[in-house]
């Protein structure tokens, strides 16, 4: 589950009747990460972000060894994750959601806006075209869906077929419709700075979905990460962490460049 020699330490928190696993590194303002449908995954981007943030990457209930028949809806799962963050005494935190976790993150921000400083959505699956399917299949199939350049990535570890089937069933049960008017109405009223990222080569959720968030949410920025597929942080970790870190630090003011072009002072 880790792409790099990570500094992350494993821990557990009991919240909402679940024993929830997490990985944590760094210090600074808290940054909570909710993973995608394939389960938790630490990338080099987590390492980069942990230099400036206290990064807490949760394993949502049902995505690890434990089954989760209890979460009755994606809102329910979002409440559980808010409860986990509160139990850890994180206070207000930045929230980053990946794909399916992006939809959980949207609901968490909508249901508990007082907890969320800023929202980062990595290839979010909260708005999907008709017929969109979660990623499944052999490790090779999954790599071809997730990456723009699977040939440049380390091979996907073989997944336990029982766990993979269980995760897929859970996502299918909870993910809801491609367009959810109730959620979209709430996003229109969401007064939280948001950054929405899509890889230009995303083959799971079309990057064109990005503009819908930008249009709906009053304080959202859309950024395309060039030549990345769906798993942006895994495929272009430096690019991902640079813009996410800058946005979390400065919000709207991140449009002002601090890039130095002096070659020879």
């Amino acid at each position: 589950m880790a792409d790099s020699n990570t500094l992350f330490r494993e821990g557990f928190v009991d919240a909402d009747g679940f024993r929830i696993r997490y990985w944590e590194a760094g210090s600074g303002p808290p940054l909570v990460h909710l993973h995608g449908a394939g389960g938790p995954r630490l990338t080099a981007a987590h390492d980069f972000l942990s230099r400036s943030f206290r990064v807490v990457a949760f394993e949502m209930p049902g995505f690890g060894e434990q089954e989760n028949q209890r979460s009755s809806s994606i809102q329910d799962l979002a409440r559980t994750m808010a409860s986990a963050a509160e139990t850890m005494s994180l206070g207000r935190f930045n929230l980053m959601g990946t794909s399916f976790g992006g939809k959980v993150g949207c609901w968490l921000a909508v249901l508990s806006p007082e907890l969320v400083i800023s929202l980062v959505l990595e290839a979010p699956a909260a708005i999907r075209p008709d017929g969109s399917q979660p990623v499944s299949g052999t490790p090779g199939d999954i790599a071809r869906r997730l990456y723009a350049h699977p040939e440049l990535m380390p091979p996907m570890p073989p997944a336990d077929p029982v766990l993979a089937a269980r995760r897929l069933a859970l996502v299918t049960r909870l993910r809801g419709p491609g367009r959810d008017p109730a959620l979209e109405d709430c996003l229109r009223a969401l007064d939280i700075p948001a950054l929405v990222l899509f890889g230009t080569r995303d083959a799971v959720v079309p990057p064109d979905m990005g503009r819908i968030y930008e249009e709906l949410m009053p304080d959202a920025h859309l950024v395309f990460v060039y030549d990345a597929g769906h798993a942006i942080a895994a495929e272009r970790p430096e690019a991902f962490a640079e813009v996410v870190g800058d946005f979390l630090e400065r919000n709207d003011a991140f449009v002002i460049s601090r890039n130095r072009t002096v070659l020879m002072p």
Binding site: L197, T200, G210, R211, E214, E215, H221, L222, V223, F224, V225, Y226, D227, R236, A239, F240, E242, V243, F254, V255, I256, S257, N259
Partner: protein
């Protein structure tokens, strides 16, 4: 077959000038430069009257050979003075420039010309990398990224940021957008596997140039195969073949002119720079490696009297699938504008009416 006239904006350099690139800019004669630009309108207006479909312009630097370092500026001037012909920028060198600026300038030209822009996006020949201090080893990937960003800037309706490898923008939202919606007819220019892949993936055209028909056919074949893989089929208007033409009344006359043409390109690079550049600039045709073309005179694909040239154009269409030929009429080694107008006349009267059905 559609036909484009390649306007090179050729400056009449006196023979006393040194012939090595870069030409000393102190040797530039402002009066002659002004004549070049004014003459562009005469030549292009003439090509329009003769029935040419497009005029094409290109970007070159630091030499009198082609005096259009900013093709968008030339295009704006032509747009205001020549009323109907399509104006093809083949093209802005994407690797050189700020891609957002290119997107904005091309949108301006399209609008100023009443929707007559044809956009070709180009990596640029090896020597051009020397002008703006660009590492030739990065030019391929800068071009790929820049092209994608230009298309995005034209078509994305909401403000967006771009987190690239070579380009980074926190917010992009260009005004004006192109007059032709969603975008002008657009081509990736090049024979490489990367150019073909990009064009196929983005449903745009491909422009190839100067090589033998069978070799260029490999590049267009790769492009068409990739288009099929992406679920679409390009039409003949989506393949451009740029070439030099040496048309005369008879084959023998054309052959004599050909034999008199120089083997070395005008205003070549010094040998040491050329050799060093060859080492760092990699090129390919549909994935097969080839050396960059540096200092060699460009070949002339169409040579002969009208009958022979018509046969060659037919063969070009058969082997490359091109539905548009973009023709450089300047007889190599000569800079006589009268000869150019004569060649245009001859082409329009003896060749053009007989290639429309090819």
């Amino acid at each position: 077959m559609k036909v484009s006239y390649f306007e090179t904006g050729r400056y009449q350099a006196p023979p006393s000038l040194p012939a090595e690139w870069p030409m000393p800019s102190g040797a530039y004669d402002p009066g002659e430069g002004a004549r070049v630009y004014q003459g562009m309108v005469d030549r292009i207006g003439y090509a329009e009257k003769l029935g040419f479909d497009w005029v094409s312009l290109s970007e070159h630097h630091y030499s009198p050979r082609i005096l259009t370092p900013s093709p968008a500026v030339a295009a704006a001037y032509i747009a205001a003075r020549v009323p109907n012909i399509k104006i093809a920028l083949l093209g802005p060198i994407v690797s050189h420039s700020n891609p957002i600026r290119i997107a904005e300038e091309l949108a301006m030209v399209d609008t100023l010309s009443g929707g007559r822009l044809i956009a070709g996006l180009l990596r640029g020949t090896s020597n051009e990398a020397l002008t703006y201090d660009l590492n030739p080893q990065e030019s391929r990937e800068r071009t790929d990224e820049g092209m994608e960003l230009i298309l995005k800037a034209w078509t994305e309706p909401r403000p967006f940021g771009w987190q690239g490898r070579h380009f980074r923008y926190r917010t992009v939202s260009v005004w004006p957008r192109p007059m032709q919606q969603p975008m002008p007819p657009t081509y990736a220019l090049g024979t490489s596997r990367e150019a073909g892949d990009f064009a196929a993936r983005n449903h745009i055209g491909l422009g190839v140039s100067y090589g033998p028909f069978d070799v260029m056919g490999k590049a267009t074949g790769h492009y068409r195969a990739e288009c099929a893989r992406h679920g679409w089929e390009p039409g003949p208007d989506q393949i451009i073949f740029r070439a030099n033409i040496l048309l005369a009344e008879t084959d023998a006359e054309a052959q004599r002119a050909l034999e008199a043409s120089p083997a070395r390109a005008p205003f070549s690079l010094g040998t040491k720079v050329a050799e060093a550049l060859l080492e760092v600039d990699t090129r390919n045709i549909a994935g097969e490696a080839r050396a960059a073309s540096i200092n060699r005179a460009l070949p002339i694909n169409f040579v002969g009297g009208p009958e022979t040239v018509i046969k060659q154009i037919r063969s070009c269409r058969e082997q490359t699938g091109a539905g548009i030929i973009d023709l450089g009429f300047n007889t190599p080694g000569t800079t006589d504008p009268g000869a150019l107008m004569g060649a245009l006349d001859l082409f329009a009267s003896k060749v053009l009416p007989r290639i429309r059905d090819i």
